[in-house]
């Protein structure tokens, strides 16, 4: 089972990564990237790294990718490709997702159902592993891997200041060299 899911997630990741490069339309590329991130999260789950999976979804799929999508869409305003051709597909998949969400919420709201009571203990255990997982990552980050963690923060600082230096207007006094260009 673990091997099977590994190969499923692995092959979809490779396929989506290829699609990111192959698609000529940047929006499609970003969407493929999104699918790839979801499958990477799946890969983390098969490795019992639930915390990393959640972070992967929240940070990459949730925040960074949406940002990418915004940028790509803003940059492509003049190009009027229609993204509405798959309305039916989108509607169908959306309804399916909605049904799933409703199903999950309705089950969660009914904890006294017999099928559910049996798994209550398991659910508690699962919650403990999730906490344990998070704790483990946190502990490793702040003890064994404290040094690389702090170096990574410096890298982010350099990236941020570098972006400002490269992009900010009027950062330097105008001089003859720059005026001539």
């Amino acid at each position: 089972m673990a091997t099977l899911s590994f190969f499923y997630f692995g092959s979809v990741i490779v396929l989506c990564a290829l699609l990111v490069v192959i698609f000529r339309n940047p929006v499609y590329s970003v969407i493929s990237l999104l699918v790839m991130f979801f499958h990477i999260a799946g890969l983390f789950v098969t490795l019992h790294a639930e915390f990393l999976a959640a972070v992967q979804l929240i940070v990459y799929a949730g925040a960074i990718l949406v940002l990418y999508l915004f940028v790509v869409m803003i940059l492509n305003l003049q190009q009027d490709d229609s993204y509405q051709r798959q309305v039916k597909w989108g509607l169908g998949l959306g309804l399916l997702a909605l049904a799933e969400v409703i199903a999950i919420i309705s089950k969660a709201a009914l904890p006294d159902e017999p099928a559910q009571s049996k798994t209550a203990a398991a659910a508690a255990g699962e919650a403990a592993t999730v906490v344990g997982n998070t704790e483990m990552v946190g502990k490793a980050l702040y003890t064994t891997y404290l040094f690389p963690f702090e170096v990574a923060s410096l890298i982010l600082l350099v990236a941020m200041i570098g972006a400002i230096i490269m992009a900010k207007k009027g950062i330097m006094e105008p001089g003859p060299l720059r005026e001539s260009k």
Binding site: I161, G162, M172
Partner: protein, 492 residues
């Protein structure tokens, strides 16, 4: 799993000083009056001076007794201390050089000094890390700062092109390096160098995944040291970047990458030495051949020095291929000497101005001896040293590398290196010929050819240090040789 201790923090004292200094420069920049921005350069120099003193004290106290820190991810040893001292010295010289040069190019942003310091802290992490993750993060910290510095001349499309090219190719090579690290982790279950060494000892010889990981690491590090066939970025990036940044890349980034390259391959991959040796011999020969041959046809001095730096990476690789005590010491000696002569050559280039622009064509050196005999004289010295002509330090560097190869029964490799060193004399001496044997007027008539030499006190100080280094180490190299030999990695 231990919480960080005072001993850990003391172990990275020079790094902490440099990191804090870099951040402080950023904070102090808006608080400093416009006409006092030079103080930030002096402040950076003071930080480097403090770090140098601490590092020097460590090196003396530590010979022969490496001290692990941060749960074995980092080590304080004489090998790391040697490279740190060299890198701090180079960074100080580059800051001095940049102080004058940035004004000439109208890019005197104090953030430049912060980037030098932060990049230096990345290099220091790289040379002392004993865990592939730490080494990788140090490498990224160094590279990200360099990508930005390459594009500092924002008004020049060439500079932006250099930054973009360096960034994209550099990220790609980092990805390859990471892939190699992840395969190594998958095969040996560890990212620490010692853990990988133990893991490899338990694997059957010729394990294909291990060999693939080793190959990917060669690609990743090969890119950073600009070895053929991963050198494509070098000429464009070196030519487009502001010259003081080019000097920093050619000297410091190369030295730090070689330091990490040596440590990873000798400490972690020593068990499969025979396999990477074969690969590296091929890379080494290709690097010497291509670097030296293509340099002959260059007309831009920065491009020529770029190909020359590729060729020098080839010579230094010989020391890694030899992979014994003499080899390691000769690489350390080589890069220390190379730092002086290359910095000096780039410093002369920063001083030449053609109109409002930099005089970076070899033609701009025409008749330099008539215009400014001192500039011509030091350039002559650096060119002789780069070519490896005695009594300059360049000869000593090449001599020890070739002797290490001969000592390890690799006479063939040494012969090839000597042949290409002889070929390299052609393009180095051409600069000398142009400076001394042509009249300044010979290229006149081309509009905008009013080449002049702008000598600032800081640039003269850099030239003086570099020239004295080349001369003194050429005649009296014993202290440096002994420092390198006492700081070599304990072979495992």
């Amino acid at each position: 799993m231990t919480i960080v201790s005072t001993a850990d923090l003391l172990a990275i004292l020079p790094e902490l000083l440099v990191m804090a200094g870099g951040c402080l420069v950023l904070v102090l920049d808006p608080l400093t009056a416009k006409d006092r921005k030079d103080w930030l350069a002096y402040f950076s120099l003071a930080v480097l001076g403090a770090a140098f003193v601490v590092g020097y004290w460590f090196m003396g106290a530590l010979t022969g007794s490496p001290r692990p820190a941060f749960s074995g991810l980092y080590v304080l040893d004489a090998y790391g201390a040697f490279w740190k001292l060299l890198l701090i010295l180079v960074s100080g010289l580059v800051i001095l050089l940049a102080k004058a040069h940035l004004k000439l190019e109208e890019i005197d942003l104090p953030e430049f000094y912060a980037f030098i310091l932060l990049s230096l802290s990345g290099m220091m992490v790289m040379v002392s890390g004993t865990d592939l993750l730490v080494i990788y993060l140090g490498l990224e910290l160094m590279s990200l700062s360099l990508y930005v510095m390459a594009g500092f001349k924002r008004y020049a499309p060439r500079s932006l092109e250099a930054a973009a090219k360096y960034f994209i190719l550099g990220s790609f090579s980092s990805g390859i390096l990471l892939y190699g690290i992840s395969l190594l982790f998958g095969r040996t279950g560890s990212t620490t160098l010692a853990g990988i060494r133990d893991g490899i000892a338990g694997l059957p010889p010729g394990d294909p995944i291990l060999l693939m990981a080793m190959g990917l690491l060669v690609v990743g590090f090969g890119f950073k040291v600009a070895a053929v066939p991963f050198h494509m970025w070098t000429p464009d990036v070196y030519e487009g970047s502001p010259t003081s940044v080019t000097a920093y890349m050619a000297v410091a980034s190369k030295a730090a990458s070689f330091a990490a390259f040596l440590r990873v391959f000798l400490e972690a991959l020593g068990g499969i030495k025979e396999s990477w040796r074969m690969l590296l011999v091929a890379v080494c020969i290709a690097t010497m051949v291509l670097g030296n041959v293509v340099a002959i046809v260059q007309t831009n001095i920065k491009r020529m020095l770029a190909y020359s730096s590729i060729a020098h990476a080839g010579y230094a690789l010989i020391g890694l291929v030899v992979a014994d005590a003499a080899g390691t010491a000769s690489v350390m000696l080589y890069l220390a000497i190379y730092a002086f002569m290359n910095l000096g050559a780039f410093a002369v280039v920063t001083m030449l101005r053609r109109g409002g622009l930099e005089g970076d064509e070899i033609d701009d050196f025409t008749g330099l001896a008539r215009r400014n005999k001192w500039a011509a004289l030091v350039m002559l010295l650096f060119m002789f040293s780069l070519a490896g002509i005695p009594p300059t330090a360049g000869f000593i560097a090449k001599f020890y590398i070739f002797m290490a190869a001969v000592g390890a029964n690799m006479t063939g490799l040494a012969v090839i290196a000597v042949v290409f060193a002889a070929i390299s004399a052609y393009f180095y001496l051409r600069v000398v010929m142009v400076m001394y044997m042509k009249e300044p007027g010979e290229t006149a008539g081309t509009p905008g050819y009013d080449v002049r030499v702008v000598a600032s006190p800081a640039a003269i100080a850099v030239l003086l240090v570099a020239a004295l280094g080349v001369l003194i180490l050429g005649v009296f190299p014993d202290p440096l040789i002994q420092a390198a030999q006492s700081a070599i990695l304990p072979l495992k």
